[in-house]
């Protein structure tokens, strides 16, 4: 066992810090400070993506030959840590985190050449078109149909909860190409070059926090080329399962949670407990935040073991344990933050939350973000496989720890 990062990494850390301290524009920093979701405000996060690309750092976990950094796991961890400390907006995951790695793994050479540069550079934004109104947890029951016609497919049906489809210029999606067999058979994975094909319409859905983040996407005889297919026709389920590894895979989420803890402590400095002190000095509050901090610490330990290559990451339940822990800790952080800012969480401040807003927030940055962040984070136990479904998966592995 060895717990240290190694002294050569301190130079690396200094380099990362120097860049992160100077490269982001004020608007990018503002988007980070006003982050109330895993999905940062679009224009600023894409601008930041392009800045990171110029530095060569937009996809640290990609293989070097495709534009990755070639960093060690420790270096990636340091990068994530310094990144979150500065409240910088995380890059949108659909491109560099999902469809990019998928194409690197199993795309054709043509697809890689065509799509990877746009993902890496932050020129393209990809929406993920999986879920449908009647197919959420039971994704394999999806009904959006694609019928082969010459070199094309003709798509009919709809997708829902498609995050940022209203900002996207491309989309990866699952369609049904055969209904005769088991539901998992007959699904095909498609890449769409455009979001404005004739017959395609996008309707943003206003979320409980007041922001349009997810969308509904309708397809009426939409003709797309078959060259956008990944894998074989009717083999899209195994393609999607492959992508899932990237979607649910671990990384360095604990720095985000730790930053959340810091912010709760900050808010607690100025909120009276009602028992003679500020919350920060209140023993009950201290006990509660202590418990949360300890749980986050265990999660960090788990993450660090996993990135170091410890067998914990080889457990078949690893992705589900990771997802369950991270989502539930995120929710606890946001609950405590709303409690720590008290009534200041109650005003609806949609305009003040916008980057470049020309209204003053009523209170502090924390007052501003606490409630929308809490509300938005209710989704973390629903998306990417609900936590009920994750617990089913974990349960199946119990007793097989090896």
């Amino acid at each position: 066992m060895n717990i240290d990062f190694g002294s050569e990494l301190e130079t690396f850390r200094a380099e990362v810090c120097a860049f992160l301290d100077t490269a982001p524009t004020p608007a990018i920093r503002e988007a980070g400070r006003k982050l109330t979701s895993v999905f940062a405000q679009f224009d600023q996060v894409m601008e930041w993506h392009r800045i990171l690309y110029h530095q060569g750092w937009s996809a640290p976990h990609w293989p070097k030959e495709h534009g990755g950094t070639g960093w060690s796991v420790e270096q990636k961890y340091i990068f994530a840590e310094e990144y979150r400390k500065r409240d910088l907006p995380p890059l949108l995951p659909q491109g560099v985190g999902m469809v990019g790695p998928l194409l690197i793994d199993i795309g054709t050479e043509e697809q890689k050449a065509k799509y990877l540069p746009g993902i890496l550079k932050g020129e393209d934004f990809w929406a993920q078109g999986y879920s449908e109104p009647n197919s959420g947890s039971d994704l394999a029951s999806l009904q959006c149909r694609a019928v082969a016609d010459g070199d094309d497919y003709i798509i009919n049906g709809s997708k829902i909860w498609t995050t940022y489809a209203h900002h996207a210029n491309r989309m990866f999606m699952l369609v049904r190409t055969d209904s005769s067999g088991k539901k998992q058979q007959g699904i095909t994975f498609l890449l769409l070059d455009r979001m404005d094909y004739p017959g395609m319409t996008v309707r943003p859905i206003i979320g409980l926090d007041g922001f349009p983040e997810q969308c509904e996407v309708f397809f009426e005889d939409v003709r797309v080329p078959q060259s956008g297919r990944v894998g074989a026709e009717n083999d899209g389920w195994s393609v999607a399962k492959h992508l899932l590894k990237h979607e649910r895979g671990g990384g360095a989420q604990s720095p985000t949670l730790k930053r959340g803890l810091e912010r709760i402590r900050e808010a607690a400095q100025t909120t009276p407990s009602g028992f003679g002190t500020m919350l920060a000095e209140d023993p009950v509050f201290q006990r509660d935040i202590g418990e949360l901090e300890a749980d986050i610490a265990s999660f960090e330990h788990f993450e660090k073991l996993a990135v170091s290559g410890h067998p914990v990451a080889a457990d078949p339940a690893y992705p589900s344990i990771n997802k369950t822990m991270n989502s539930e800790l995120t929710q606890r952080v946001t609950v405590m933050l709303t409690q720590a800012v008290g009534n200041e969480a109650l005003p609806l401040q949609l305009e003040a939350l916008r980057v470049g807003a020309n209204v003053e927030p009523l209170g502090s940055d924390l007052d501003l973000i606490a409630m929308p962040w809490y509300l938005n984070s209710r989704a973390t136990t629903i998306y990417a496989g609900s936590n009920e479904v994750q617990r089913d998966l974990i349960a199946r592995t119990v007793g097989r720890e090896g």
Binding site: S137, S273, G342, L346, P347, S386
Partner: protein, 367 residues
């Protein structure tokens, strides 16, 4: 012992529910919330006609002398329908504070108008990030000439931007005092806003505001204020319990009809047990609501009883609301169903006048 509503209370409750069902469905409610004013004077006038605005006030003040049980009977449907109008703010907080004034005072005049629906009242009480206990009040009033001078800042004043009269809680020679202040007076700055649960509120700054002697409603008002706050807490909790009931109904219905993997999701044990927990939470919260109502109506509610009610409603309401969203999956995350709105109403009521964290601790402190 009897903790059921009387026939009269049930009739009142049914008539309010019928009115809301007819005139205040979710779409209509949302249209009101999104309007410039954010609440409906038409609905308010209907409330006046139905006698609701007079209900909480004593008969010798022109009210109907309603009990807290009467008010709980209507506040639950208010919560279930996500009422945006200032019932709690104007009748239970502002109005109740005006009613502490002596006959013939300006405050008594305002109360007449609050009862007829001609005026909205608000209680400017909470400060900073929240005022779970009146001892935290810092706004001060000093004697100046024959009148007073008021300074301080009030935040999260429900109805504060819409009020025709503000009842301000401030320290006068150390003790808490209540003043009826008109919002247009020089030195008062009002910053109104919408709240996350579709109400209107305001932050209000008072910069050495000159107020006349007759504006004083009550000096040394600590005990009286406590009574007003306790009854307002009961009304807020009744609203939240009403919202909890609506969430339970809607979630049970959704889980029974939403199919995944070929079966209703309610048939998955994880979902079924969560629905069971929601029902347990609702049953518990409502039992405490009804019991505490009876305690207040018989003058037997202790500070601990109030803390139990507010703490339990906040804690159980949050758990139930979060479970409702989780059970709805993606649609629970939208603005389009009432689910998230009901949850936000419960959260807002929890935060007001001290949240569950505070009140549960208080239960323990009041050994």
């Amino acid at each position: 012992m009897d903790f059921t509503f009387s026939d009269e209370q049930q009739m009142l409750r049914d008539s309010v529910s019928a009115f809301l069902l007819k005139n205040y469905d979710f779409d209509r409610r949302n249209a009101i919330v999104r309007s410039d004013a954010g609440w409906s004077r038409e609905v308010w006038q209907q409330f006046a006609k139905l006698g609701l605005l007079a209900l909480p006030f004593a008969e010798d003040r022109g009210g109907l002398g309603g009990s807290m049980a009467d008010l709980v009977a209507i506040a639950e449907p208010f919560g279930a329908h996500l009422l945006a109008e200032h019932y709690t703010a104007s009748a239970m907080l502002g109005g109740a504070a005006l009613a502490l004034a002596g006959d013939g005072s300006p405050a008594a005049g305002w109360l007449d108008k609050v009862i007829t629906g001609e005026a909205i009242a608000a209680l400017a009480y909470e400060e900073g990030p929240g005022t779970p206990d009146p001892s935290l009040i810092q706004a001060v009033v000093e004697r100046q000439g024959s009148g007073f001078s008021l300074s301080g800042e009030k935040r999260m004043v429900l109805g504060g931007g819409d009020a025709d009269v503000l009842v301000v809680v401030a320290r006068l020679e150390g003790a808490l005092a209540l003043f009826a202040v008109e919002p247009a007076v020089q030195g008062i700055t009002i910053r109104p806003y919408a709240t996350i649960d579709g109400r209107r509120a305001a932050n209000i700054a008072f910069d050495t505001v000159a107020i006349p002697a007759e504006a004083l409603i009550l000096a040394d008002a600590g005990d009286a204020l406590r009574g007003v706050l306790d009854r307002a807490i009961l009304a807020l909790c009744a609203e939240s319990v009403g919202a909890m009931g609506a969430l339970l109904r809607q979630t049970a219905e959704y889980a029974a009809t939403r199919k995944q993997f070929g079966v209703p999701i309610a048939t998955f044990q994880a979902v079924a047990h969560r629905l069971a927990d929601m029902k347990i939470a609702y049953t518990k919260a409502r039992a405490t609501l009804l019991y505490t109502t009876a305690l207040i109506d018989t003058g037997r509610a202790t500070p601990k009883d109030i803390a139990i009610l507010k703490g339990q409603t906040g804690k159980l309401g949050r758990a139930l609301g979060e479970a409702a969203i989780q059970t709805h999956g993606g649609v629970g995350m939208t603005d389009e169903l009432s689910v998230s709105h009901l949850h936000k109403r419960i959260l807002a009521n929890d935060a007001l006048l001290g949240n569950a964290e505070y009140h549960l601790r208080k239960v323990g402190v009041l050994a």
